[in-house]
């Protein structure tokens, strides 16, 4: 049975998330970059990087792990806290605070809908975890290192700092910088929902997604969940979701992929039938 979903108007953007994402941008991005400065950096590289420590070196899983975690101590700690929060409360970092995904989302909302690129056709979890596996194990397997290439945790802070600091412009105008910029533009700024990079390429998001999906099976963890008995199949939640985590199944009931869900709770607000709730089941 085909489920009829009406044409989408602009996605909702709750005022709470507007403010929390804005706060994340002030805390982490130039010109203030408050959090990086507190840990001796000026952007989200170096000790603040939440990604490089995940990469397994050629000498093995545990080789140099302590040194890597020590070098990127704040980023590793940020990921640990984010995973803990995700376990109990859902992906609050991704959906409410991350300045990188949040900045992409903000910009994407300025782009006319007809120019946006939809990635909804992809089976996102399968792409995401195949990409994540190579990100983590590529060096170990002899494929190579993605590392800082095309990293939006580099590109977006560098964009924020570029009007003020020449070094950022030097990087962004280099071949690698332009490739990264193009990636962020295509999978962030021009993506429908602004979060395709988050959903498909971000290693932190991939880890968070695993934890969210596993912990959602425990009824006592707070998650965004859909009650199929109350769902009438209107599809409003599907239209509201910025990462295509929701779809209507064969019975026209809303079904959620918890590994993709960013706990933004916009779907909770648009459901007029009380079928979607955030909390314990």
């Amino acid at each position: 049975m085909a489920c009829a979903i009406t044409e989408r108007t602009e996605r909702p953007f709750s005022s709470l998330r507007r403010w929390t994402i804005a706060a994340g941008m002030v805390l982490f991005l130039s010109p203030l970059a408050l959090v990086p400065q507190l840990v001796g950096e000026v952007n989200m590289c170096g000790a603040v990087c939440p990604r490089l420590f995940m990469i397994i070196p050629s000498s093995g899983v545990l080789a140099g792990l302590r040194d890597k975690v020590a070098a990127e101590w704040f980023g590793a700690s940020l990921v640990a806290v984010s995973l803990l929060v995700t376990f109990f409360l859902g992906r609050l970092w991704c959906g409410h605070l991350c300045p990188i995904g949040g900045a992409s989302e903000y910009v994407s909302r300025l782009v006319p809908r007809r120019l946006r690129i939809s990635f909804a056709f992809l089976a996102a979890p399968w792409f995401r975890y195949a990409y994540f596996a190579v990100f983590v194990a590529g060096v170990w397997l002899g494929i190579g290192a993605i590392g800082c290439k095309l990293c939006n945790y580099r590109i977006i802070p560098f964009l924020a700092g570029a009007p003020f600091v020449p070094g950022y412009r030097t990087y962004l105008l280099s071949s690698v910088g332009l490739a990264g910029l193009m990636t962020v533009v295509l999978t962030g700024f021009l993506a429908d929902g602004g979060r395709a990079y988050c959903s498909l390429l971000c290693p932190v998001g991939a880890l968070d997604g695993i934890v969210n999906a596993l912990s959602a099976k425990l009824g006592w963890t707070a998650k965004t969940r859909t009650d199929p008995e109350l769902c009438v199949g209107c599809g409003e939640c599907v239209k509201a979701c910025m990462v295509s985590a929701l779809e209507l199944d064969d019975e026209c009931k809303s079904r959620r992929d918890q590994s993709s869900c960013m706990s933004c709770k916009e779907c909770v607000k648009v459901c007029a039938h009380g079928a979607i709730r955030y909390g314990r089941s």
């Binding site: 970059a33 507190l38 190579g144 993605i146 070094g167 990087y171």
Partner: protein, 155 residues
């Protein structure tokens, strides 16, 4: 083909595309940009850094401060030296690293300093010097030459 078969096929294709994309990015090497690192150690042998054979080159260097100084300059004739330091708005009470015209100030020991050196297309070679700005002595030098490159360089 049933809907279920089609769905599984899409999943497998997406997994294949995801791993292929990641592998492609991992192997990707773009011209005109190279990353390397140099230990600023007094008395060490001059480093040799090879950049691309032609065209404008951006060399991203991580310079590790192992020289026992907190005031370090990066000099290179004929090339522009930039950094992503200093902080745009320095927080009061925080002794952040300063950077102006190639000179880093208040650098903690062991800190990696991000430096971008831009070689013009018609520049064949250059000599980079790491200088203790407190007394003007040269800590270490590096020769930058054109040639075939093979990725990351550590010196």
């Amino acid at each position: 083909m049933s809907d279920q078969t089609r769905a599984w096929l899409l999943r497998l294709v997406c997994a294949a595309v995801g791993s292929a994309a990641a592998s492609g990015f991992a192997r990707m090497s773009l011209p005109g940009y190279l990353h390397g690192s140099v230990q600023a150690v007094r008395g060490a042998e001059p480093a040799t850094l090879t950049v691309g054979e032609s065209g404008r080159q951006v060399l991203a260097l991580s310079i590790v401060n192992a020289a026992g100084t907190r005031d370090l300059s990066v000099r290179m004739d004929g090339a522009r030296v930039t950094s992503w330091l200093p902080a745009v708005v320095r927080l009061p009470g925080l002794a952040g690293i300063g950077f102006e015209e190639g000179r880093f100030k208040a650098v903690p020991p062991g800190k990696k300093l991000p430096v971008y050196v831009v070689l013009a297309a018609d520049q064949a070679r250059a000599r980079l010097e790491l200088v203790d700005a407190s007394d003007g002595s040269v800590i270490r030098s590096a020769q930058i030459a054109r040639g075939k490159v093979h990725g990351l360089r550590h010196h």
